[in-house]
């Protein structure tokens, strides 16, 4: 699914944000990407989304070497992934329904399909009764559910969540993590970048830890910190 082969990313010459990263994430995995701020999580996600290209090494996603990908093919790559943000990034002037439908509209889906699919996703994330609400009328947890619904509406093979619970209280955070795990159970590969120790420890999933741009730990069913 995702393969980093000897990937380094340097900004401004020799300042490495990521150095010598090798890893392999298989289809259907649930992976936490942990590390303090500045450890390289953001760069890691930017490389996945092809916002940035690696200075050295290659990244293969779904059998496509993205370091060789032409700019014109980036949209197609991004359609194979859904992204969830810490700050939700919903459009304030659109309703919940419209925010989700938007993702289908801009990828050229038929109106008929949109009308059929949006309510299904809404019920899956438990927001059927909020379809007509605006983001400002929702709690943080609810807004993030909308964000997740928007990210998965186009059936991506990979769901990337960048600090999805960073702006939420523990109760909501737990629910969001549970939702992400549900999505993973339906076959979607999920990568969650976070430094929410409690959540990581509770979930007992694969943990990849970054520190100063280096991959320092990669364990199945791991904890946020080393558990010896």
């Amino acid at each position: 699914m995702i393969k980093f082969d000897n990937v380094s990313k340097a900004y401004k010459g020799d300042k490495y944000a990521l150095k010598d990263i090798n890893l392999d994430i298989k289809k259907g995995e649930f992976v936490f990407l942990v590390g303090s701020s500045g450890a390289g999580k953001s760069t890691f996600i930017k490389l996945l989304l092809k916002e940035e290209s690696p200075t050295i090494g290659s990244i293969v996603i779904n059998d496509i070497d993205t370091s060789q990908l032409s700019r014109r093919k980036i949209p197609k790559l991004r359609r194979s992934m859904g992204v969830v943000f810490q700050d939700f990034r919903l459009l304030p002037n659109k309703t919940v329904y419209e925010n989700i439908a938007f993702a289908m509209e801009i990828t050229g889906n038929k109106a008929k399909d949109i009308r059929r699919k949006v309510p299904t996703i809404l019920s899956m994330v438990g927001l059927s009764d909020k379809a007509k609400s605006y983001p400002s009328e929702l709690s943080g947890g609810e807004q993030q559910r909308v964000g997740i619904a928007r990210a998965i509406i186009n059936n991506p093979a990979l769901l990337i969540a960048d600090e999805p619970t960073g702006n939420l209280d523990p109760k909501n955070a737990t629910e969001i993590m549970k939702l992400l795990k549900d999505i993973n159970n339906r076959g979607t590969t999920v990568l969650v970048a976070t430094h929410a120790k409690d959540q990581v420890d509770k979930m007992m999933q694969r943990v990849i830890a970054l520190d100063h741009g280096r991959l320092v730990r990669d364990v199945e069913r791991g904890l946020y910190n080393d558990a010896k």
Binding site: R71, R72, P75, R78, R79, V83, F102, I106, G108, K110
Partner: protein, 296 residues
Amino acid sequence: MLNSIAYNISEGTKSLWRNRGMSIASIASVSASLFVLGIVLAIVLNINNFAIIAQKQFDNIQVFLVDEMQADDIARFKRKIENISGVSKVDFESKDMAMQKLKERWEDDAYLLDGLENPLQNSMIIELTDIRLADEVVGQIQDDAYIDSISYYKDVIDKMLTISRIISTAGLAIILLLSIVSLFIIANTIKIALYARKREINIMKYIGATNWFIRWPFIIEGMMLGFLGSAIALGAVYALYTFIFSKLGTETYSLIGGYLLPISTIFDNIAVIFASMGIGIGVLGSLVSLRRYLKV
């Protein structure tokens, strides 16, 4: 496909409305440039038209003769001119005939000429096979002692064509300048529209919208700005032209009025030029901004 055209137009219109102030400025600047273009075009087209008519109507040379010339001198002179190449016909017009013509032209006011000693001169009217030969023909006869003066319209036509050239050159310079200003204002409007939708564009990129999908609404917006500007300019030029046409068309100015092109003969051309220039400026303006500010 139809769906996405409708989407682009509706997004473009929404953005146009959201940024009313800048939209109005853009439309006004396009209108102003095209309005100037319209005036220049109207003047140049009319002068050129007049020059063509004048060339047809005045393809002759009138040679005024001194009064002392006798009948046999006149006949000899006439033969001499007839032998010059490029001359198709020579007619003698006596001063009496000239007076008669003048009276006919003045119609009701002709009585003013009664009792006046005829101030007009005998003349030869030379018709040419081609107006462009006028200078040569004049060159061959001008030294003749019997000639008082020679009047032909080539110099007048030349002068008019020169004026038309100056007007079109100056006009084009002004239009170019105004077009650049319009382009700049439209580019700025689109830049503001881009900033207003920064968040949306950012999300669209992550979801995998293609670059053109993101660009189209802005191009449509630029197009609409240009088109609306050209429509207003067209209306203004139409109104001004018909107003002037009706003023000059009245009998007082019938001399000029008769040569003016009616609006219907030039309207279609101006409309096509305006629409294509307006839309062109609009699209170009938005492309400039998209290129500079939309990193996709």
